[in-house]
Amino acid sequence: MTENTIERVATSTLLDWYEQMAVIRGTEKAAHDLFLRGLVKGTTHLAAGHEAVAVGTSAALRPDDYVFATYRGHHHAIARGATPEGCLAELMQKATGVCKAKGGSMHLTQADHGMLGSYAIVGAHLPMANGAAWSAKLRGTTQVAVAFFGDGATNIGAFHEALNLAAVWKLPVIFVCENNRYMEYTPIASVTSVPNPAADRAAANGMPGVLVDGNDVVAVHDTMSVAVERARSDNGPTVVEALTYRHFGHSRTDPATYRPPEEVEEWMARDPLTVARQRLLDFGASREVVDAADARAAEVVASASRAAQDAPAADPAQAFTDVWADGGAAWRT
């Protein structure tokens, strides 16, 4: 399939994906730097290393499709149209943050682009993705919904309930596991009863389960395209398990010393940006063209970071808005 793919994807398309990935990578690095400078508060879970999953999937979706992500969701927010500036501003507690600085890193959301939120309770959003898919079916649109989640999420009850209902109702939903081999610090293999935590559970709920190289944006795109087509044509849900790796620790306080150095090295060599860059060169793209994409991405991120830093701090009065749909927070007379 990879062979076919290489012929099918236009170089310009791949270059575009590459640039999107570079923007995400740059934003994650900026977040890390700003954290080290004390400008990013709270906790962050960087997705550097996971970019191909986000970009490859987004490329297979329609603008009106829905996605749901986890606390490790910066990449999905950006891939679906949130600006690096809006994301960094959110992390820096600025009024211009995508969630008005009320959500923070773990809850990036860009609803007007169908990015219906990042959820920080493991597994909770899989059933929500069902709900969006069910709604699409009820309203007779052909939208699909995607839930992204980690390997660790496959051992929680909501995962099982979501898969079963999706299959029974033949919902246009795709469950995309970003298997990065670890929960927080514990290797997933040490607490999971099957080798492929997501894909190996698909059959238990009567749906296909597919493994894909999550560091190859083209492979992700192609695999997702099949799953999306299946969902859109009312043939039901799919589990996709993308094998990938995170470049940073679990969260900002984690140096990730529990990972064997050889393993880290091996995966770093398969950095999704490296893989895509190599493929671009193989396609005949010039080094200059690829470098130019890098430069554009760097400029986008740099100006986003500046703008976010310059933005006004969140207004404390916002603590009392947005509880209710009327905008307020009144709970009694």
Binding site: G103, L138, A325, R332
Partner: protein
């Protein structure tokens, strides 16, 4: 006295199905979801007729998957639908508590207002029927611990219909507690177009000596106590809160300004019960209105026992309230 010939009576149980049906007719985005709610008409027969009238496209039977139910409702609510989800017994809210505690009430706030989650969670609440420790609890206080949920708990058939209309039309999530002990009770049917706004208490009976604040099944209980105490010349004002959030303290204070004496009667356990929140507001803002201690007649702080004779010892009863009123009057 009302002209009884023109008043149509109905049961609380039938009012539930009626209330939902009216909204299903009004608004094509309303959709029902739950276990055994379709052809079977619901375990409590509170969805009888919906499947027949509206079909499988509007009334969805689910597996025993409370998390999947709530998640489906939530995802659909943020994408244009108005789901009405049934969790069979309110005790089972514990099986999907994450959705009620962490997801549904916070989605709007933590996205800075990007998401709206207009859904209703209906559930059969309360004891007194010998269902034992895991099927008899009153858990409206669980919902009260969570900012971002509206909470309705009607006591009459017409309030069931009126509050259901408001709940389903609300753009905020509403937890709707139907009391198991009231399903068979009768009352006036709701007129067409009947709507009761969320957050408006009702003075169920006027009186002057003691204000009794009640909710759901403790409303008829309080009315029975009021009738009994009338013989002693003690006059109770009974307030049916109807909702815990929004909480209509104005009506409570209005009553208290006459009576200066307050008893809250609730089915929640005393520890952590909703009455404590009402009392704490009065003990602060209404301190000068009070002529006597504030009392709570609540459930005892034990699990709900199976045997009737034991259960009656645990939950509030007319006798317990009458006794509490007498003690308060002799303060």
């Amino acid at each position: 006295m009302a002209d009884l010939t023109s008043v149509q009576m109905t049961t609380y149980r039938d009012a539930v199905a009626d209330g939902i049906a009216r909204e299903l007719r009004r608004d094509p985005t309303v959709v029902c979801i739950g276990e055994d709610i379709g052809k079977a008409g619901g375990v409590f027969k509170t969805t009888v007729g919906l499947f027949e009238e509206f079909g499988a496209g509007r009334v969805w039977d689910t597996p025993i998957s409370e998390q999947a139910i709530m998640g489906a409702a939530m995802g659909a609510a943020m994408t244009g639908m108005r789901p009405v989800a049934e969790i069979m017994f309110s005790d089972f809210l514990a099986c999907c508590w994450d959705y009620l505690a962490n997801e549904i009430p916070k989605a709007r706030y933590m996205t800075g207002g990007q998401l709206t989650v207009p859904l209703v969670v209906r559930t059969a609440n309360g004891g007194g029927l010998g269902f034992g420790a895991q099927h008899s609890q009153s858990v409206e206080n669980w919902a009260l611990t969570v900012p971002g949920l509206k909470i309705a708990a009607p006591s009459t058939p017409s309030d069931v219909v009126g509050l259901m209309a408001s709940a389903i039309r609300s753009d905020d999530p509403v937890v709707f507690f139907e009391h198991k002990g009231l399903f068979a009770s009768k009352g006036e049917a709701a007129p067409p177009g009947h709507v009761v706004p969320l957050g408006e208490a009702r003075v169920a009976r006027e009186g002057s000596d003691v204000t009794v604040v009640a909710l759901a099944a403790t409303v008829p209980l309080a009315l029975a106590a009021a009738a009994e105490l009338e013989g002693d010349g003690i006059s109770l004002e009974v307030i049916d809160l109807r909702c815990l959030v929004p909480l209509d303290m104005a009506t409570v204070f209005g009553s208290l300004s006459k009576s200066s004496r307050l008893i809250v009667v609730e089915e929640n356990p005393y520890q952590g019960g909703w009455g404590a929140t009402v009392v704490s507001i009065v003990a602060d803002e209404g301190f000068e209105m009070l002529d006597a201690p504030i009392r709570r007649v609540a459930s005892e702080n034990v699990p709900l026992p199976f045997a009737d004779a034991l259960e009656q010892r645990v939950i509030p009863t007319v006798d317990k309230l009458v006794e509490a009123v007498r003690r308060l009057m002799s303060y």
